[in-house]
């Protein structure tokens, strides 16, 4: 009898734990840029995400490098879905890669949580119930920059961005909010590093301000060359050219520049303080906005896992939609097209001792969503 009870008890425990294992374990495939130009962004997203899920035993993460190439990203996604059997994909930095990977992923019944890229196509007509963007819709930070340009009294802006989906979203976003005229509008080559030609055009254009979106290493070259050119125009841009990974390389040329971001290390809430200090302790450097996006993505996943099993996709999706986690950005919720509603801040580049970093000067747009919500039938 005693034997029987122990056996039964053991059975119960075993079956319980196997149910537990089946239902609560989540396999995450992270495809991000870890080598070549722009790898700083992917590394920050990965590190932020890993920090968030570090103590969660139910999450396994497979990380692979897409080398910023769409074809490689697609191969990796296929492999992760078909042979590694992941439940959730995440990690992609670049919009052109996201456009190549996300539609196929969500159509195969997997969740995709975007920690960065938010192309307009995936927010409007191409929205999908399994696609969540935890960062922003691409236009958002640029819209805030346009709004800031109005309040700063700019009347005649010269605007430039690389010729790829996110670059077009950027200029569209700026123009949507900016009320002044355009002194010039230029698309540069993706990956371009030398902006002598564009800077000469800015000089000749008679602009009173410059707006630029040049993510990663592209912005370093622009800021340095612009400050050396002796043109004394105010510059405004999204945070991507002024994040923590890049400021060091830009140097003092960035001092005083206003940039717009949904996150900053001085946002005053408990989650953010914990994130900044833990990130510094773990990796020995200050986090960037990319790291905060990776971290929030991890926390969002955990929040849904604690309420629902991943196999019950409808319930899990509902839990994701609630966004019931403490974001490093403070207030955070999803709009109907699964893109964030959040505050966008205006920051200024300052020096803290010897380190260049950002501080918030004002709230650019409050509870900001995106214009593509109405196009999304979900």
């Amino acid at each position: 009898m005693k034997n029987l009870t122990t056996t039964l008890a053991a059975l119960v425990i075993m079956s319980a734990s196997s149910v537990f294992a089946d239902g609560h374990k989540v396999k995450v495939g992270m495809i991000t840029t870890l080598s070549g130009g722009g790898s700083g962004l992917g590394i920050d997203v990965r590190d932020g995400f890993m920090l968030a899920v570090k103590d969660n035993k139910n999450i396994t993460v497979i990380t692979k490098d897409d080398q910023r190439k769409p074809d490689i990203a697609v191969q990796l996604a296929d492999k992760m879905i078909q042979s590694d059997k992941v439940d959730v994909l995440t990690g992609i930095i670049w919009s052109n890669l996201a456009m190549a990977v996300v539609p196929a992923t969500v159509n195969q019944g997997k969740f995709y949580l975007s920690p960065n890229a938010g192309p307009s196509k995936l927010a409007g007509k191409g929205c999908h119930k399994n696609y969540f963007n935890v960062a922003w819709q691409n236009d958002n930070l640029h819209e805030a920059a346009g709004g800031y340009a109005n309040s700063a009294g700019f009347k005649n802006s010269f605007i430039l961005a690389p010729n790829y989906p996110a670059g077009k979203d950027a200029l569209t976003g700026y123009k949507r909010f900016f009320k002044g005229k355009l002194a010039g509008e230029v698309y540069t080559k993706l990956g371009q590093k030398d902006y002598a030609a564009e800077i000469a055009q800015i000089r000749a254009s008679g602009a009173d301000s410059v707006f630029f979106f040049l993510p990663g290493g592209m912005g370093i070259g622009f800021m340095k060359q612009f400050s050396q050119s002796g043109i004394k125009l105010p510059v405004v841009g999204p945070a991507f050219s002024f994040d923590q990974g890049i400021l060091k390389a830009v140097g003092d040329a960035a001092l005083g520049v206003k940039n717009t971001s949904q996150w900053s290390k001085d946002i005053n809430n408990a989650a953010n303080k914990k994130f900044v200090s833990e990130f510094q302790k773990e990796f020995g450097r200050l986090p960037s906005l990319y790291a905060s996006q990776g971290y929030d993505t991890g926390k969002l996943l955990i929040s849904a896992m604690s309420k629902a099993k991943i196999k019950d996709m409808d319930k899990f999706r509902n839990e994701l939609r609630k966004a019931d986690f403490s974001s490093t950005r403070g207030k955070f919720s999803f709009d109907k097209n699964h893109h964030p509603i959040q505050d966008i801040y205006v920051r200024e580049v300052i020096k803290e001792g010897k380190t260049l970093t950002n501080k918030i000067v004002s709230v650019g747009l409050k509870d900001h969503s995106n214009v593509y919500v109405s196009e999304c039938n979900m």
Partner: protein
């Protein structure tokens, strides 16, 4: 107004061309003398920039940093030539492409392993900061003028080296007939190492000079490498003169095309489309130029037969 803009863009094109010349001079020499396709040439550009950033960080001197880029990349060139490249001269081009491509991956990962994935800081010295007025109200960056000047000096130096010195005679002889020159008692493997070191050193110098106004990061050499190949194909493989003319041609075409094509297209279509389409066509221009030149002169402007 338009003339000033045009002239400034012409200078920008020159400066871009000069930098391409520093890359392609080495590439074309190495191909001309040793018959080696060296895809890893862009890695020396990167190594030079990182050496410069390292030395500038330690000493604070830009001039020492420039020197370090030249020497550092040349030393890396010598080591790599002796350890790896030397075994490739007798192999066919496919083997060379595979091996030097592997070198790119190894060197990039190696540099990232040492310096990390984030871009490094390297800035120009104060004396070259800012712009100076030239003539007709044209204001131009001092540093870019400096790059143009250095480029012309190096072009002149290479010309003297190849036409007036004993080493130059050997290099030219090596280009013409590799077997004969070694039969005449010239230590061919030493000559190869020297040529390789010169090529690597020039690439490293270019990397440091450009790194100071762009960014010093892993993988910075590969986009330039592709253009350098375009240059040597246009100029004729093995010809320094061809590399010089080809570089300036590519630099100016690229810059002028990128700037004026969108404006030109605005005459026919609405602004946003013209900008986007103009910059797309602008980035194709140099390849169209290459195709046109190859149709007329299949071995390039100054190529042998």
């Amino acid at each position: 107004m338009t003339f000033i803009l045009f002239f400034e863009q012409l200078l920008n094109g020159m400066q871009f061309g000069i930098m391409l010349f520093l890359m392609s001079a080495g590439l074309t020499l190495i191909f001309g003398v040793m018959g080696l396709i060296n895809l890893a040439h862009g890695s020396f550009y990167m190594i030079g920039a990182f050496c410069a950033a390292l030395i500038a960080g330690l000493t604070g001197s830009f001039w020492l940093a420039l020197l370090a880029s030249l020497i550092g990349a040349a030393i890396a060139g010598v080591l790599i030539e002796i350890i790896i490249i030397r075994r490739l001269y007798r192999r066919d081009h496919l083997d060379q492409v595979l091996a030097t491509f592997a070198l790119i991956l190894l060197l990039s990962e190696g540099v990232r392993w040492i310096f990390g994935a984030f871009p490094l800081y390297l800035n120009i010295p104060n004396i070259l900061n800012g712009s100076i007025p030239l003539f007709f109200d044209i204001i131009y960056s001092k540093y870019r003028l400096f790059i143009i000047l250095i480029g012309f000096l190096i072009a002149a130096g290479l010309y003297l080296l190849i036409t007036k010195t004993r080493l130059g005679i050997r290099i030219r002889a090596g280009q013409n007939d590799r077997q004969m020159i070694s039969a005449l008692g010239v230590d061919i493997s030493k000559l190869y190492t020297i040529v390789f070191a010169i090529g690597a050193g020039l690439a490293g110098l270019a990397g440091a000079m450009i790194g100071a106004i762009q960014s010093v990061e892993v993988g910075m050499g590969e986009p330039i490498l592709i253009l350098a190949f375009v240059v040597i194909v246009i100029g004729g493989i093995g010809s320094i003169k061809g590399a010089f003319i080809g570089s300036i041609l590519v630099g100016v075409t690229d810059t002028i095309g990128r700037v004026f094509l969108p404006n030109f297209l605005k005459i026919f279509m609405e602004s946003a489309n013209a900008t986007s389409m103009g910059s797309s066509i602008g980035s194709m221009l140099i390849y169209i130029l290459m195709a046109l030149i190859l149709i007329m002169k299949p071995s390039g402007l100054f190529g042998k037969n």
